[in-house]
């Protein structure tokens, strides 16, 4: 005999929520972040927490000004994740005010100006990176050879405070250009790019993450692990990253085939700079990418192609941030034209005739 209570439809079961998604993305980012923090030592760790702290602070202030409930929005993890991505997009030994300004631009100009979480047109972390890159090109391209934590040359905690807060970097010997910067310099000089030091053994070193770069440009391997984790949990769909990799591989491969002295090879393009980080963690932002799967394929292909064009032909050595922002601007257009077919209707929105439905059933 059944004594079950009658409960009426509709039934929904929602495991997804904003805090859960944010937490899982952070979990996926954790290996790459831990590796980068280890590689760059105390200055990077201090900067990392400065950026996340300032993001939370500006989030709380923005929520207060907008008269929104502070605690639930602050604890949903979105501000932490935004700050985290800003940290991944900055040079690891940047001065403290770059970090605070980055948190401010991302949270206030990137997000709350548009009305808060889910309303922004552009990815907040990329807005912060690009605004800082344009305003402070010197500080934003200050890279150094990795100095693993506890290694002999690695600064201790007090020296790190000095570097971040007082600009006390007098160890010029440690600074170094990223591979993309070396390539850009050689391209400008009209020389063959094969002289770039990183290119010879590029693939293994990029995989391991021992080349100079931003925090999120270090270990390709750990970024891919994080990306596959997100794909497996269906936090992100495969369309955007795969389209990005495919279009970049295709264009870079063709360009390298015809002019190897000017264009670096496919693997260099794919695994250098912020391309992997952008493909898995930034371009896949729910808010700023198209909603349909075919729209995401176009979006990803556009990001890949624009990144190649900017890297090869602009004055900037790296173009992932610009490319993502430009395609973010295209997203409403893509969503306008690429609409999935509604069930029971044709592509143009007309109801399907009954014989068509019959044919479909057979």
């Amino acid at each position: 005999m059944s004594r079950a209570k009658t409960i009426s439809a509709p039934f929904t079961h929602a495991i997804t929520s904003v805090p859960r998604t944010m937490l899982l993305v952070m979990l996926a980012l954790a290996p790459a972040t831990a590796f980068s923090l280890y590689q760059f030592g105390w200055p990077a760790i201090i900067l990392f927490f400065i950026i996340i702290g300032s993001s939370l602070l500006f989030e709380a202030l923005s929520l207060l000004i907008a008269r929104k409930p502070v605690t639930p929005f602050l604890l949903d993890g979105s501000a932490v994740l935004t700050g985290w991505l800003v940290a991944m997009a900055l040079p690891p030994w940047a001065p403290w005010w770059i970090g605070v300004l980055g948190g401010f631009i991302a949270i206030v100009f990137g997000k709350h100006i548009y009305g808060g979480l889910g309303q922004n047109i552009f990815n907040p972390a990329m807005v912060a990176r690009i605004a800082l890159l344009i305003s402070f090109p010197l500080e934003m391209t200050f890279f150094m050879q990795p100095q693993p934590l506890f290694a002999q040359q690695s600064p201790n905690f007090l020296q790190a405070m000095d570097i971040i807060f007082m600009g006390g970097i007098n160890i010029d010997a440690l600074t170094s250009a990223s591979t993309l910067t070396q390539i850009k310099v050689l391209q400008f000089d009209g020389q063959s790019i094969e002289a770039a030091t990183g290119l010879v053994s590029y693939l293994p070193t990029a995989m391991l993450g021992v080349l100079p770069g931003s925090m999120g440009e270090m270990s390709v391997l750990s970024l891919i692990v994080g990306g596959v984790f997100l794909l497996a949990l269906r936090i992100i769909s495969w369309h955007t990253p795969v389209a990005m990799f495919a279009s970049m591989a295709l264009i870079a491969g063709i360009a390298h085939f015809f002019n190897p002295a000017f264009h670096p090879g496919m693997w260099t393009h794919l695994f250098s700079g912020g391309f992997v980080l952008g493909a898995f963690f930034i371009a896949t932002d729910y808010v700023t990418q198209p909603v349909s799967n075919s729209g995401r394929l176009i979006f990803g292909a556009g990001v890949g192609a624009l990144t190649f064009v900017i890297r090869a032909y602009s004055i900037f050595p790296e173009g992932v941030g610009f490319a993502i922002l430009l395609m973010n601007a295209m997203t409403p257009l893509i969503d306008h034209y690429i609409k999935p077919r509604i069930f029971g209707r044709s592509k143009s929105g007309e109801p399907l005739a009954s014989e068509q439905l019959e044919r479909g059933r057979q």
Binding site: F109, I113, A131, I134, S135, F136, L138
Partner: protein, 236 residues
């Protein structure tokens, strides 16, 4: 309106605040973005535009009986263009340094929609004196916004205020040239670039809306306190 005595209080309030060219009408944004990288450039541009607004208000109002509606736009443009040309030549002769800085944007005052807008909306329907007063205060309101935006962008973007003011106002005013952040202030380049103009303008418009909302609220509260009907504050 022309039959009644002109309400100068309203004209002045409209020009300076209620119907401010930039903050309420969102006109003349092109010169606003282009020249407000420093407060001095904003001031120079604002003064030139004010002069044209007064002069075009005078001419359009004077000839409004002869200008038939069908051809009014070309005639307004002709009047404004000839006056802008006068301003441009005058600045080239007497304020040559500033002329070089503002460059193309002086002839482009012709295309400033605020001027054509005032000719169409006010000067062609009102007497000469009110039209000139309207042009003057619209121009002053515009200039004030240009100077404020230019000042904010200049202080944050390059750490100075009223840089090169002596080029515009003469050597006596070189005391205006201030270095706000000296030393190794590197400058926030984003604010000098066009995005900075949009960001600062957005904040100013939001600021005006907040003030207007507070004023309406206060007026309503006062009216209720006195037991009278709430008077409708003129909203922007």
């Amino acid at each position: 309106m022309s039959t009644d005595a002109p309400d100068y209080r309203t004209i002045i309030a409209d020009g300076l605040w209620t119907r401010n060219v930039v903050l309420a009408q969102l006109l003349a944004l092109c010169p606003l973005m282009a020249v407000t990288a420093t407060a001095t450039n904003g001031l120079g541009m604002g003064m030139a535009t004010t002069f044209v607004l007064v002069a075009s208000g005078f001419s359009v109002s004077l000839w409004r009986g002869f200008i038939t509606p069908e051809i009014r736009i070309p005639v307004f443009v002709l009047i404004i263009a000839s006056q802008v040309t006068l301003v441009e030549m005058g600045m080239n002769a007497w304020l040559h340094e500033l002329y070089k800085v503002l460059g193309l944007f002086i002839p482009l005052i012709v295309t400033n929609c605020a001027i054509l807008g005032r000719a169409e909306a006010f000067a062609s329907r009102n007497d000469v004196i009110p039209s000139m007063v309207d042009g003057f205060f619209m121009g002053v309101g515009f200039t004030a916004v240009l100077v404020v935006i230019g000042g904010i962008r200049e202080v944050l973007g390059s750490g100075t205020l009223f840089f090169n003011a002596s080029l515009l106002l003469g050597e006596h005013f070189s005391f205006l040239e201030t270095v706000v952040f000296g030393g190794d202030y590197k400058g926030f380049l984003l604010l000098i670039l066009p995005p900075g103009g949009f960001i600062v303008l957005g904040f100013l418009i939001a600021f005006k809306n907040v003030i207007d909302a507070a004023r309406v609220k206060r007026a309503t509260a006062q009216a209720l306190d006195h037991g009278a009907e709430p008077t409708q504050e003129r909203a922007a």
